[in-house]
């Protein structure tokens, strides 16, 4: 009797487990671009250590890469997947460049790259807003 109940519960949990929707993945992508932007802004103000900032940018870069791969496999409905892939790839490159600019201590170059990343974030946000609403 208890085994049956346990199996029933396991089945409920298993069916409740669902992969993230493309809309959720878009939100995550925006979140990681935003994280890189915040970490970059804090570094420009000389308020975070170089190592922490580099590690956070590297984390954002990697997470964004995983999300871009997922979004390439199952593009969000209503989104121009070519433009989306292009802007996500560009954002990743910008984040990688930000990491390199910290090592080079190039503050002016860093500020320029950060502005460009923010512009990309706005673009991804517009794409996300145009998508069909999340279920």
């Amino acid at each position: 009797m208890w085994i049956k109940r346990l199996l029933g519960l396991s089945l409920i949990f298993a069916t409740a487990c669902k992969p993230p929707t493309p809309a959720e993945q878009m939100e995550s992508a925006l979140s990681w671009i935003g994280t890189a932007g915040m970490a970059g802004k804090a570094w420009l103000r000389h308020t975070t250590p170089d190592t922490y900032t580099r590690q956070t940018l590297e984390l954002s870069h990697d997470k964004l890469g995983q999300l871009a791969d997922e979004l390439l496999k199952s593009p969000p409905p209503g989104a121009d997947s070519e433009s989306l892939n292009s802007v996500l790839a560009r954002s990743r490159k910008r984040i990688a460049r930000l990491e390199a600019l910290i090592t080079a201590k190039n503050v002016r170059g860093f500020a320029r790259e950060l502005d460009a990343l923010r512009a990309d974030q706005r673009l991804v946000k517009r794409m996300s807003d145009r998508m069909e609403p999340n279920e």
Partner: protein, 404 residues
């Protein structure tokens, strides 16, 4: 005069020791994802904790028993053994999470990954337990933990909309992401109503030799200390709402949480966050290790006191030595402390009825408490807590799966 000092120190240590990796992680995630909408969960969790902590102190001051030894005495060893397995398993996971929290704080400060910190951090915790006294553990780390007041400064500096924040104190449902909202509500409640505090506080009352004259002191400490602690947790949520939401950041990792105060307090925000997490997780790791050792020693009738030397307390010291050693293993293997934290929140919720239900019986037993047993208000609050715990246990695990 001695009691005024006890009240002051008690409140200060309750405030400084309230936050730990679970409460901060859940509050920051909630604020980043839902703005002020989950403030009610912190309010409810804090209210429950105030009553439970007050009862724990009253129970020990009047009966001169800890909750653990009274549970074994009143319900017998077989029932006690069931409670022990569930509770100690959860406490162990909390200990792993707290040691991991210290490691993550050191990681963001030094760039050296948290697995490398597992052994040195565990050694420091063990050393403090071995050499320290109860007073040092209770007061030392908690006083350092007062750095968490910076969360309140950050929240106020971000100029929140107080009307909207007040609205968040009432439960509501969001338009989207209901599963995530529910899971975060469960996690916040699980993080707030932490049973290890009940056991630690009850044992502490015996260590500090409280008697019936300490009942008013206990009431002040439990009410003011836990309330101020809850305010700190709310401040973390408010600061997260105003820092992360405008940037579209949903907080999933410790690295992201570290940016919590960089907008409000640009010069010191990052370091204040790291110090806050370092000290509060250290305090919580010490308290949890002690709570586990107390549980075993009181449950099996061994001699126990953090104030005794290890030679007079061999089995008690052996338990925390082994537990701390074992807790370092998952961290050495690189298991993410944030994932352990979230899992331990759900398991805390699942085991709350196990810890709270026998406590309700004890709090109404005239043999232990005489005229000081629970009135209807306390009983109602504990009964509601059990109900909340039961619902939490039923929904926490599927919600964790649904909420990702």
């Amino acid at each position: 005069m001695k009691k005024v000092l006890a009240i002051t120190l008690g409140i200060v240590t309750s405030v400084g020791g309230f936050l730990e990796i679970g409460s901060v992680t859940t509050a920051v995630q909630a604020g980043a994802a839902f703005g002020y909408q989950l403030l009610w969960a912190i309010l409810l969790g804090t209210a429950c904790l105030v009553f439970l902590v007050e009862m724990s102190g009253r129970f020990s001051a009047v009966s001169r028993h800890t909750i653990v030894d009274a549970t074994r005495e009143r319900f017998g060893f077989p029932f006690f053994a069931i409670v022990m397995v569930g509770v100690v398993l959860v406490f162990f996971m909390v200990l792993v999470a707290e040691l991991g929290g210290i490691g993550l704080s050191l990681q963001i400060l030094t760039g050296i990954g948290f697995p490398w910190w597992a052994v040195p951090v565990s050694f420091v915790v063990w050393f403090l337990m071995w050499k320290g006294t109860f007073g040092l553990i209770e007061n030392g780390a908690s006083i350092l933990g007062l750095v968490t007041i910076s969360f309140v400064v950050a929240a106020v500096k971000l100029n929140p909309d107080w009307g909207a924040a007040a609205h968040g104190l009432l439960p509501g449902m969001p338009g989207t992401d209901k599963a995530k909202y529910g899971f975060l509500a469960v996690s916040i409640l699980g993080a707030s109503i932490s049973p290890h505090l009940m056991y630690f506080y009850s044992s502490g009352a015996i260590e500090d030799e409280w008697d019936k004259s300490y009942i008013p002191v206990n009431r002040f400490i439990a009410t003011l200390g836990m309330t101020f602690g809850g305010v700190l947790s709310m401040a973390a949520l408010v600061a997260a709402a105003l820092t992360f939401q405008p940037n579209g950041v949903e907080v999933d990792t410790f690295e992201q949480s570290a940016l919590l105060m960089t907008t409000a307090l640009p010069k010191w925000g990052f370091f204040l966050f790291a110090a806050s997490m370092l000290f509060t997780c250290l305090g919580a790791a010490l308290e949890t290790s002690l709570a586990i050792a107390y549980f075993f020693a009181q449950g099996f009738g061994w001699s126990w006191s953090e104030d005794l030397t290890p030679s007079k307390n061999a089995r008690f010291c052996f338990v925390y030595t082994i537990i701390i050693l074992l807790a370092a293993v998952p961290l050495l293997m690189g298991i993410d402390p944030i994932k352990v934290t979230l899992m331990s929140m759900a398991l805390t919720a699942a085991t709350l009825p196990l810890a709270v239900a026998p406590f309700l019986f004890l709090m109404n037993d005239p043999i232990y408490l005489g005229e000081h047993r629970n009135g209807w208000i306390s009983n109602t609050v504990v009964a509601i807590t059990i109900l909340i715990s039961f619902v939490l246990a039923l929904i926490a695990i599927p919600l964790q799966i649904l909420g990702g």
